[in-house]
Symmetry: C2
Subunit: 247 residues, 2 copies
DNA sequence: TGTCAGCATTGACGCAGATCAAAAGCGTCA
DNA sequence: TGACGCTTTTGATCTGCGTCAATGCTGACA
């Protein structure tokens, strides 16, 4: 796969999501979002020596549920879906990983979910053994990882409320508001366009709905002039409608 | 509230669930289950000096969502429900805390859920500031807390699958199997009786169902000779039925 | 420029579980 | 012992979302 060159005209455009570490952590575009924020320049240098950039094309599998955790990843560009599957094929997307997100926070031996690239994707990769040894020597990195895990736990609990108690309309509204906030964090400002690189099926599996219901609800929102559907995302027309409905 | 005396005849009986630390962490009945397992005798001594036993009666609130985290808790006896509420009164029980569980693992400033005693309850209580200072000096405690948080994150992800993708019957089966496993861990052996100290409404709010559906499904299971309903719990008759259905 | 494959959308219909309502247990206390 | 309050159970009915099926859209490639 070819990595397109960097652009600066539009931070949130798909082709620009591919920013890599560029072999120097000091200039990493997602450092301030990632666990690396816990490290000083020296530690960053050390960590950098263990890192390698990994590139995945769309649909590529980063790792599978039950696989041994041989590497951990710091996402620098692109989007991944995190999936738990049932034996009969039912799927639950437990989350979407965005730039700055860390995969392997739990330091367990085997992965508990599958990660697949939703878009072309770049990740800063560490061998698990190296990373664990490094974190062992840097307690404030562990602390930071714990903070990240706590944050994830919060999001997981929010998601339980969504799955257990919200209507289809509320689920969609919450999802769109969540994506808006998360992209804002990545871009550093509120985006006009809410990028939705994942397909309707992924959204359905994230929200505990069917693809038909997702489609119906979003299109109804468009008919009701709450949003407009654009290629690769949506644009809010009536922000307060979403604020009122979202979790 | 009076704390009934200790019994030894039946570990899982309600009245015996009230075992406290007894002012000496070394003899704590839940040490091997709790984060304290990370500590050696010296550290345990130090921590003990900061601990105080807190007793809550049934229905008492340990803390509320949004409250400042002034204390953290190590549950030594009893059961608590952890609740997130929506403005309109809808509730999601995000979990049940059993002896050995730690409340406040995330070290955040405010609680993200409400905790209420389902049964009379004893918890080992630490002032947050003390506990945080202590953990700062004991990296392996942080590591252990991170392990516990990771474990919770796993359970949360399991629960997302349950909420998003399982049928009512599968949800109930999964819940009962989960409670059986958790009580087994606390008791140190597989209990014949699966204690369910929480009411039907709590179970419904945990599983994303209504109380009527919970009641119907459990009673149907009894009619189908899969289990028998007894005071304060259930007893499996057809274990393989549950193993097949559960997540 | 046409064909094809993979989504997404739309419509008709069905059903699992919600809602509404009533009755039955069951522990507490006078 | 009986009355009260709370929880659970059961029944009847409704409905939000799933299921099934067809059609439309878009981008890739010949």
């Amino acid at each position: 796969m070819d990595i397109p060159p960097r652009h600066s005209d539009h931070e949130t455009h798909a082709s620009c999501a591919l920013r890599s570490r560029g072999d120097d952590c000091r200039f990493c575009g997602v450092r301030h979002l990632s666990i690396c924020q816990a490290l000083n320049i020296n530690e960053l240098d050390q960590l950098e020596k263990m890192a390698s950039d990994s590139v995945f094309e769309e649909r590529a599998v980063l790792f599978r549920e039950e696989d041994e955790v041989s590497s951990v990843f710091n996402l620098t560009a692109g989007v991944a879906r995190l999936i738990r599957s049932l034996p009969d094929g039912r799927r639950q997307v437990t989350g979407f990983a965005l730039p700055g997100d860390f995969l392997g926070i739990s330091l367990e031996k085997t992965w508990r979910y599958t990660a697949e690239a939703v878009t072309p994707l770049v990740a800063c990769r560490f061998r698990r053994s190296n990373f664990e040894a490094f974190s062992e020597k840097n307690p404030h990195l562990i602390k930071k990882m714990h903070e990240f895990a706590s944050q994830e736990l919060n999001m997981a609990q929010d998601h339980m409320v969504l799955l257990g108690r919200l209507t289809a309309e509320e689920k969609l509204a919450s999802f769109l508001v969540e994506m808006k906030k998360r992209w804002a964090r990545v871009a550093g400002h509120e985006p006009g366009l809410i990028r939705l690189p994942m397909g309707r099926q992924d959204i359905a599996d994230y929200l505990g709905l069917t693809i038909e219901t997702v489609s119906r609800v979003i299109n109804q929102m468009q008919r009701d002039r709450k949003l407009v559907i654009v290629p690769d995302g949506v644009r809010f027309v009536d922000q307060s409608y979403f604020d009122d409905l979202a979790l």
